[in-house]
Every structure is written in C-alpha cells, then in structure tokens.
C-alpha cells in the first residue's frame, strides 16, 4: 500500500513523543542552564596556569621554558620570558613568564601542552561557559585570567592533582637532598682544598 512506510515512520515518532512523557530514557534533553549534566571526572576544556600560595603572580609555577609554546599544534600560546629571575617553589632561581597568553578561540583542547610541561605548571580546566561578546579580545586570555590556584586544580581533577602534588613533592625533596649533598660536597671540597694547601706545591716541572 502506498504510504505504508510513511505511516510506519509516524508511528515510531508518536511512540517516542508520547513515550517521553512517561519514560525517562526517551527524554534525552536537559533544560540548560537550570539543569546541568554532570561532568566527567577527566573532562577537559582549556588550559590554565597553576599557582601555589595566595599570590598568583608570585606563585606561578611556570618557569617560561616555552616548551609548550613550541609543542602546541595550532600555536595558540604566546609567552614572553622575563628579563630577571626569581625564586620558584623549589627555592631555585628561575625565569617567569612576563606575558603568557592563550588564544582559546584557536586552542583545540588537545592537552599536549599539559603533557610536555616538565614543571606541572599548566593543566586543563573544565570550565566551559566561556561565551563572550568580544570575538577577538575576549577569547585571548591573559596571564591573570589563566592563573588559578592549586586548590582549584585539586577540585576539578582530584586524582591528577594528587599525582601532580606527589610528583612535585618528590621533586622538591630531590632538590633539597641535592642541595644538602651539594653543601656536604662543598664542605668536603673545602676541607680537601684546605688539606693540599698545607702541603707544599709541587714544582711545575715535577708535575709534567
């Protein structure tokens, strides 16, 4: 019969339409923004910069090594290295980023910058409500907007944050151990230096 196929389709549509009133499975939409779908634990949107402590400017972990800038596939990170150095979380003298911009209209959320960063300083955020009326300026996020505290990171990705904290703690411990070893070695070297200084210098001819 002509039209049978169309009627079959209509029946299917009617079943779904009426079914959505009684069965939750058939109702697939959410009334955003009143209702929100839960986010997945490892959801990622755009990168942010982690800082420790209270002052975002002082606590930024980024040392401006520019690895992420080089590795970013669409080249949406722009970094200007600082001229001077300052003390970082390990207690070493390091550069810091004078400018750190990410153009999130270009960023494709690939997470490569996070993977290549050796200092655990850039991480993925799961903030997705970033719509803006300024198409160019509004989507170019600067250092001050990118900086978010480590607590924020712990909140959005608890598991990863724990791993990163552990890695950092190990790193700091290593540095401290090294500093201690260095200090001991220096002391030893100083002692050793003091010793040959007491013995008479061999003549250059004898040394050859």
């Amino acid at each position: 019969m002509l039209g049978e196929g169309i009627i079959k389709g209509m029946v299917e549509t009617a079943r779904n339409c009426l079914g959505s009133y009684v069965s939750k499975d058939r109702l697939t939409t959410l009334q955003y923004p009143e209702e929100r779908a839960p986010q997945f634990p490892n959801a990622r949107q755009f990168p942010f910069l982690v800082y420790d402590g209270d002052d975002w400017e002082k606590g930024l972990r980024c040392v401006s090594c520019q690895i992420c800038e080089k590795e970013c596939p669409p080249k949406c990170i722009y970094i200007v290295k600082s001229k001077d150095k300052r003390v970082d979380y390990k207690g070493q003298q390091q550069f810091y980023p004078a400018t750190f911009n990410i153009d999130i209209s270009v960023c494709m959320s690939c997470q490569i910058c996070v993977e290549v960063c050796p200092f655990e300083s850039i991480k993925m955020d799961n903030e997705f409500e970033l719509s803006n009326t300024d198409r160019f300026g509004g989507l170019l996020v600067h250092k001050n907007q990118l900086a978010k505290s480590n607590d924020h990171y712990r909140k959005v990705h608890p598991q990863d944050a724990a791993e990163s904290d552990a890695a950092l703690a190990a790193e700091v411990a290593k540095v401290q151990a090294k500093a201690k070893a260095d200090a001991e070695a220096k002391a030893k070297a100083a002692a050793a230096k003091a010793a040959p200084a007491a013995t008479p210098q061999p003549s250059p001819a004898a040394a050859k």
Partner: protein
Amino acid sequence: MQDMGALGTPLMYAFREREKIIDLFEALTGARMMCNYMRFGGCRVDFPEGWLAAAQKVVDEFPKFLDEYESLLSSNEIIIARSQGVGILSQELAVNAGVTGPVLRAAGVNYDIRKVDKYGIYDRFSFRVPLGDHGDTYDRYMIRMLEMRESIKILQQALKDIPAGPIIDPKAKLRGFRPKAGEAYGRIEAPKGELGFYLISDGGPNPFRYRVRPPSFINLTVLEDMCLGNTIADAVIILGSVDIVLGEVDR
C-alpha cells in the same frame, strides 16, 4: 537524508544516539571530539571504572535504535522515490576514479581494506562486507545501515576479548625520535573510505614529506558524473549520499 526533507526527526534521533557514544569518548579521554588518545605503542589513559560496562550497554542497545531509524526511513515512500535510481555510479568509474569506502561498495565492488589488508586485529573478527548492486543513492544509504550492524558485531566481539594489562609500551617514545631514512604508507578503512598516510623520512626528527590521502576528497571527484542527467534537486541528495567531511575536502 536531511536534504530530502527528513530534517527533524531522524536527524534528532541519530543525535540522541551519537550523544551516548560521545559521552563514552568524553568519559574515557576527557574530550568529546579531539580525543587525543592514541599514542605510539599504546594509548594515554586506562578505562575509568565501569567504562567497559557502559560501552557494552551502548553497543547492546544500538541495534534497537537502528531498527527504529530504519522504520522511519528505509521503507518511506518519499525516500524511495527520491533516491532509487538517482545518482548512479558505475563500477568502472568508481574503480577508475579511486573512490573507496561505502560509496565504492554501494556500486558493488567488494573492496574493504579491513578484509584486504587484515591490518590490526581485524583478522580475528568475523564480519561481512555489505555490497550494493545498483550504485544509486538508496544503495549508499542502505550500505551504511548494514555496515552499522556489522560494526556492532565487531564491537561485540572486541568488547568480549579485550585483555587486561598495560596500556602502553614503556619503551615507546612519543617525541624527539628519528626514524630511519625511507618511506612508508599506512592505510586504514575509515568510515568514509581509504584513509592513508604517506611519510618520507630523511632521518631527521621531522618528516621530509607527509601527505594524507583523504577519502572524502577523492570520493567527491565523481560527484559531477553522478549528477549529470539528474535534476538540480537531486544534486543535493547525491552530495549528501557521498557523505563528505569538509575538513578533508578543503585542501
């Protein structure tokens, strides 16, 4: 299909199912589309808890959705009237033009790289390759429906056999390696056809030459031959039946 006036319902139903699949992607990799999951020698993260069960559920429910979808479209008189005998692609032309994927198989050529090359672990799965015999728009639609059912079969087998173990070869290097000088071509059966990557290395860290064989782009080249002799309104349907991704075509 939406070009034929079936814009609302089937498309939205398909989106509903797509959402479930994309949710699986997001739960596993963190992103919906730019998954960035595969690595040389393995993959990036392991399954979160309960992911396999969720995937199994989606796979199990998918045939039901396909039945629903087909009851909307496959025997719909409007679809049949507008697509059968429209945009016929002959076997000869399809082979000569290098068309691959469902478009080629709808013309009746038995060529599926998963069967021809048996790459990866595809030799372990039992599945069939549906073939069309008219090469028209309706065949291309039907081939995709049948292929989805075959894909479900493959997924069922794959989910059953998936082994536990390390997810990545610890010796594999992700960056900064130098392949030996030479050239290589790798190809897979992508949803649109043969997706190939051709690389020439001169021994440095970056490829000397790198070229992608885009299936959509090559399938699109026969559009003119398929459209000739049909009405303008049919051209839209024929274009839709080639199923292009414009990212591949724009080059």
